[in-house]
């Protein structure tokens, strides 16, 4: 019995010793793991962006871009987020929606900006999507919904255009799971508070439209794809009550009004 125990312990020790010795080799550099992971995400981001920009035009009006980008800039600089990684695209589309794509692409449909009651409400939506990007929720969602092997085959060109189109729908039309949505909401509040942007208009935006049963709600795709808006509004308000800070306007009213006018022209 003692012999067996000793032999068993030797096998276990042999395994852990093998593991330890192998761990001394820098496999990450040898296999270029980080480089390949970044490459895959970069390629996926480009492919998906192309789908959306091929279907609808991207708004390039400098004033619009600069104004909305100033919100992103404010959130990023207050939260040590690499602004260059967040690549904003304002797309001319009938739906009221915003979503994130791989590699930091943030898509905002111009109708969402038009429908936002205040720049703070828009900032909340933007902060929410940035939270998804920073939390790497986009890739996790894609892997869950689509499968790792399909994603890799897409980036190597074997996936086919149809798969890319179908999976693009997943990114724009479905929410993340409840856990990730709540994580993004609460992180968004942190981002807003750090940037001295009042999170309450974001919560009010969710609450008012979540409890409103008229047709307008159904047309607001961003809300439709993010269920339980009232509940989300409640926990956002509860969470932000504990965070007291002095808030400042994110965009001056004349600039906000001009932005709305510019977007109406499109």
């Amino acid at each position: 019995m003692k012999k067996i125990t000793l032999q068993g312990a030797t096998i276990i020790l042999l395994f852990f010793t093998t593991w330890f010795l192998l761990d001394q080799v820098d496999w990450m550099t040898l296999f270029e793991i980080e480089k390949n992971t970044e490459k895959t995400e970069e390629k996926l981001g480009e492919l998906y962006l192309e789908i959306f920009t091929n279907e609808d035009s991207e708004i390039t009006e400098p004033f619009v871009i600069k104004t909305v980008d100033s919100i992103i800039s404010k959130i990023c600089s207050a939260n040590d987020i690499d602004h260059d990684f967040i690549k904003m695209h304002i797309i001319d589309h009938v739906e009221t929606n915003a979503f994130a794509l791989p590699n930091g692409h943030l898509i905002l449909y111009n109708n969402l900006i038009r429908e936002s009651e205040s720049p703070e409400a828009l900032s909340g939506v933007i902060a929410h999507e940035i939270a998804h990007i920073e939390g790497n929720h986009v890739m996790k969602k894609l892997i869950k919904e689509v499968g790792l092997s399909v994603l890799i085959s897409i980036t190597t060109g074997n996936g086919g255009g149809q798969i890319i189109k179908e999976t693009a729908k997943t990114l724009s039309s479905t929410a993340f799971d409840r856990g990730l949505e709540k994580e993004a909401d609460l992180l968004a509040v942190d981002y807003l508070v750090n940037a001295q942007i009042d999170p309450e208009p974001f919560a009010s935006f969710l609450y008012a439209l979540g409890s409103n049963e008229n047709e307008m709600v159904n047309s607001l795709t961003w809300l439709r794809t993010h269920p339980d808006s009232e509940e989300r509004a409640k926990y956002i308000i509860e969470y932000s009550e504990n965070l007291s800070t002095e808030f400042k306007p994110v965009i001056m009213k004349p600039t906000w009004d001009k932005l709305k006018v510019e977007l109406k022209k499109d």
């Binding site: 012999k3 032999q7 030797t10 395994f15 093998t18 593991w19 192998l22 496999w27 990450m28």
Partner: protein
């Protein structure tokens, strides 16, 4: 690590075939392309249960085959769940993870080669004893 010896008696053709099959069970599950760590073990377990009333030679090798699968199960299960955690949870690929996969691969490959060799030798009626597993089998599997 692997020793060819004489068994208590010379096994018959039928016995040698059954004993060899116990090792082939795990290989079949692998060849069928099933990546889940438990499948190999289940295949070997069902074969073991089906031969509980078999001859000593058959029972002995079914037991050794089963025991070797159990140890590999722990290694492979850890690799499987670690991979799931990386894909679906917040874990990231680290050097430790890659080193673990390679270590697991080495052990699985060693076990695969040993199993293949043992299946061939046992089919000829040769009694193959594995280091540690044979002693454990002697403890568990009695002559009658």
């Amino acid at each position: 690590m692997i020793q060819n010896t004489q068994f208590d008696y010379t096994p018959g053709e039928h016995e040698a075939e059954k004993a060899s099959s116990s090792y082939l069970m795990s290989l079949i599950a692998l060849v069928a392309g099933l990546p889940l760590p438990i499948i190999n073990l289940l295949a070997t377990l069902f074969f073991f249960l089906g031969n509980r009333k078999g001859t000593y030679f058959v029972r002995w090798h079914c037991t050794q085959a089963l025991l070797s699968q159990v140890s590999v199960l722990f290694i492979n299960s850890a690799a499987f769940w670690w991979t799931i955690a990386i894909i679906f949870e917040d874990d990231e690929i680290t050097n430790k993870y890659i080193a673990y996969l390679i270590a697991a691969l080495i052990f699985n490959l060693s076990e695969f080669i040993a199993t293949m060799y043992t299946a061939i030798q046992t089919r000829k009626g040769i009694h193959v004893k594995w280091w540690f597993y044979a002693n454990l089998t002697d403890l568990i599997c009695k002559k009658s």
